[in-house]
């Protein structure tokens, strides 16, 4: 019995909690991609770097706050800096929209051309981020690192397996729940949210019924900027901030959005968790888990790992391919908010 509990704790500690927080970060990123796709109707390849821009802004504001000696006690200062960073990122989004994307929207360019433009934007954002903050790894987490340390857990429960909960993980999950519920409330209940849904469902009809397209696009960038900043900051807090890694996030984010049904916010959230859980479950070495469960004679000699962690990309890609083959529109039917 104790062994079973220990085995479950192993799964909880190494798979469930990390996947939940990683999945939340992916879900927030995928939501951003989905919003752009549903309203502006193109695949935004610069979203990963927009996240890194947002995270960079948070870091800069954190430094400013820290230099004034302001902190949040056991919580990271970054949370205080987050609203300022969101504001800066939204401003940046609106500027890029005005100078870059608007032109192609009025020209009614094809989605592929817009995707190409987003690659140009990606280049520029990468340059800006690297010029301002440099390409190095940055830790900007302060405050209390663990809510529950492995050792404490062992002492409390008397089990031989520890359960460590990092405060960043709890913050990530908490912030995601708040943000996602706010977003759904906005889309379902408010007048502006409804007009956005109408716009994404059928643009011509929405325009006929007097919805102002500029306002819809403006709100979209507000939401996307906020989501990107929060997602980028949470990812940076949880791991560490390195501009290069955000480019690699583009693939899992897109995979999440497509798996869930691109353009569908519920799909984006579910897709994020599907991708995160499968990535971590497939690349985790189950040796410890089986040692607790199986009798000593049957203990596995190898790591019992399906794929080495280097092939994380392959997992999200394979899921993407499987979904495209079996159900091209995603788990939830995509295309509209």
């Amino acid at each position: 019995m104790v062994d079973l509990v220990n085995a479950l704790i192993v799964l909880l500690n190494y798979i469930f909690i990390p996947a939940l927080s990683y999945g939340s970060q992916l879900a927030l990123g995928a939501l951003g991609v989905s919003f752009i796709y549903a309203i502006l109707r193109f695949a935004n390849f610069s979203h990963g770097d927009l996240m890194s821009f947002g995270a960079m802004m948070t870091i800069l504001f954190t430094w400013v706050l820290q230099s004034y000696g302001i902190s949040l006690g056991f919580l990271p200062t970054a949370i205080l800096a987050l609203p300022l960073a969101i504001f800066a990122t939204i401003l940046f989004c609106l500027v890029t929209d005005k100078f870059v994307f608007r032109h192609y929207r009025t020209k009614k360019s094809t989605p592929v051309v817009l995707a190409m433009i987003s690659i140009g934007v990606m280049f520029v954002i990468q340059a800006i981020v690297r010029i301002i903050i440099g390409p190095d790894d940055r830790q900007f987490f302060d405050g209390q690192k663990f809510i529950m340390k492995a050792k404490q857990f062992k002492e409390i429960t008397g089990l031989s397996e520890g359960l460590a909960i990092k405060s960043t993980q709890v913050i990530t999950i908490f912030v995601t729940i708040i943000l996602v519920s706010l977003l759904f409330w906005f889309l379902q209940r408010t007048r502006t949210g409804k007009s956005m849904r109408a716009f994404s469902d059928n643009e011509d009809l929405a325009l006929l019924s007097g919805i102002n397209p500029d306002k819809v696009v403006f709100i979209t960038w507000l939401i996307v900027g906020a989501l990107a900043t929060v997602a980028g900051t949470l990812y940076g807090l949880d791991k560490s901030f390195k501009p290069f890694t955000y480019l690699g996030l583009v693939l899992p984010i897109f995979a999440s959005a497509i798996v869930g049904g691109i353009g569908n916010p519920i799909g984006a959230v579910v897709g994020g968790y599907v991708i995160a859980f499968s990535e971590i479950m497939v690349t985790y070495a189950y040796k410890k888990f089986f040692i607790y469960l199986l009798p000593q004679s049957l203990e596995p000699s190898g790591l019992v790992q399906l794929l080495s962690t280097d092939y994380k990309f392959a997992v999200s890609f394979s899921i993407l391919v499987i979904v495209l083959l079996i159900r091209p529109s995603g788990i939830f039917k995509g295309r509209t908010l």
Binding site: V112, M122, F123, V124, Q126, A127, Y311, P328
Partner: protein
């Protein structure tokens, strides 16, 4: 453009100028491959990096001499696992046919794949272990076929075409941006495989010293005809030096410089032949009925479909051809450098830069793609020194220890990205057809 190379030749060095030129030619081949996909058919491929790397892998597998020891300890295991892999794939196809209408189809196929993978692992893992333990400091992989590296240019094209076929089969029937994401994914996976499958490509330990299709500098410096050629070319310079010892020294130095230039010239000739050959074929195809059909599909899919053209099949065809050209360029790239470093295939350098080339040069125009390749590679190389120079001028008023100035100088390499991104955005905005727009011949 030619004057730019002369400028670098006189200003910096001839050897540098020629190596930039060689890279320009390779980039031009790549951008022609992408032009075939984007310019002819409007297919958006973001996995250029992966196809380039496949070409590079071909160069290793064709030219490196086989490692006999590794084949002896792990060869059988590898062959059995390859055999099992083929059986699994065939079985999946077969089951897909048989259970076409069954609701259990996906479960059955999934089960087959899992059983296949377990069986393969039984043979694959030990074989890999054995191969990687064979003298890991020098080999630790299966090696290649030991053929002349020139063949790899064809093999690289075939590798890339094969992968493109599979990817295209899966995604080309779907929305256009799905292909972009799928190619992005597959290229990441190809790079990861090359980085971590040591038995195949030595992974991050890199493969060095690939055989060359052209003579080595060291050998040239010892051959008589080359020395006499150099002394003939520089006879006036040598004549001015009266002292025989001095003249010997000068000649020696000239021979060393000359040999490196000679090797690069040889590469240049080989690459130019490939470039012109592909350009000829590409132009021929573009102005043939096939090319007109592709243009019709690109410009109006619905009406082309109504005319009875099979759009998915044509897209697959053009996707495979374009990727093959990129694969050839990848093999050429590795041939030139003689070393294969999987970690150096970065998406910015090998995917997005090529896109800038195609867009700037003029999509749909092969000569434009070549021009774009030359201009953009040149700008990419020279952007760093030029932006450093500019920053130094602009911040001359600031103190040397000024933090802002030091920070700017540290971030010089990233001004390239800024320049490239801005170039892409400006061209797309103000000259969407590129420097040399597509010419449509009406007959």
């Amino acid at each position: 453009m030619a004057s730019m190379f002369l400028l670098v030749g006189f200003g910096q060095s001839w050897s540098l100028s020629l190596s930039i030129l060689n890279m320009c030619i390779i980039s031009a081949v790549m951008s022609m491959g992408i032009n075939i996909q984007w310019g002819y058919a409007g297919i958006f491929n973001v996995g250029i990096m992966g196809f380039t790397a496949l070409g590079g892998l071909a160069a290793v597998l064709v030219s490196y001499s086989p490692v006999g020891e590794a084949w002896r300890v792990g060869g059988i295991g590898m062959i059995i696992s390859l055999f099992l892999l083929i059986i699994t794939i065939v079985a999946v196809f077969f089951l897909n046919r048989v259970f076409r209408n069954s609701s259990y189809k996906y479960w059955i196929i999934g089960l087959t794949i899992i059983i296949g993978l377990i069986l393969i692992n039984l043979f694959f893992r030990p074989a890999v272990q054995a191969i990687e333990n064979v003298n890991p400091a020098v080999t630790g992989f299966l090696g290649g076929l030991g053929l002349p590296i020139i063949f790899s240019w064809i093999v690289g094209g075939l590798f890339a075409a094969g992968v493109a076929f599979v990817i295209g089969k899966i995604t080309l029937g779907l929305r256009s941006d799905y292909l972009a994401i799928a190619t992005l994914g597959i290229s990441e996976i190809i790079i990861t495989v090359l980085k971590h499958e040591d038995w195949l490509s030595r992974g991050v330990k890199n493969v060095i010293g690939l055989k060359r299709p052209v003579p080595y500098e060291i050998d040239l410096q010892k051959t008589d005809w080359f020395i006499s050629l150099i002394s003939y070319l520089n006879s006036s310079k040598l004549g001015k030096v009266s002292d025989s010892l001095e003249s010997e020294k000068l000649l020696n130095q000239l021979v060393i410089e000359g040999s490196s230039i000679f090797v690069k010239l040889n590469y240049m000739i080989l690459f130019t032949i490939v470039l012109l050959f592909i350009l000829y074929l590409a132009n021929k195809a573009q102005f043939s009925p096939w090319g007109r059909m592709m243009r019709a599909i690109r410009d109006n899919e619905t009406s082309a479909n109504a005319m009875g053209k099979n759009i998915v099949k044509r897209h697959l065809q053009v996707f495979v051809i374009g990727s093959a050209v990129v694969g050839i360029a990848g093999a050429m790239l590795i041939t030139q450098s003689g070393l294969f470093t999987p970690a150096s295939f970065l998406p910015l350098r090998y995917t997005f830069l090529i896109w800038v080339m195609v867009i700037v040069g003029g999509s749909g125009n092969n000569v434009g793609a070549i021009l774009g390749g030359f201009v953009i590679w040149f700008v990419w190389i020279e952007a760093a020194p030029v932006s450093q120079y500019l920053i130094e001028i602009l911040t001359a008023a600031l103190h040397d220890e000024n933090k802002f100035k030091l920070h700017l100088i540290d971030s010089v390499p990233y001004f390239r990205y800024l320049i490239m991104g801005s170039v892409l955005l400006l061209i797309m905005r103000y000259r969407p057809k590129g420097i040399l727009p597509e010419k449509v011949r009406h007959s």
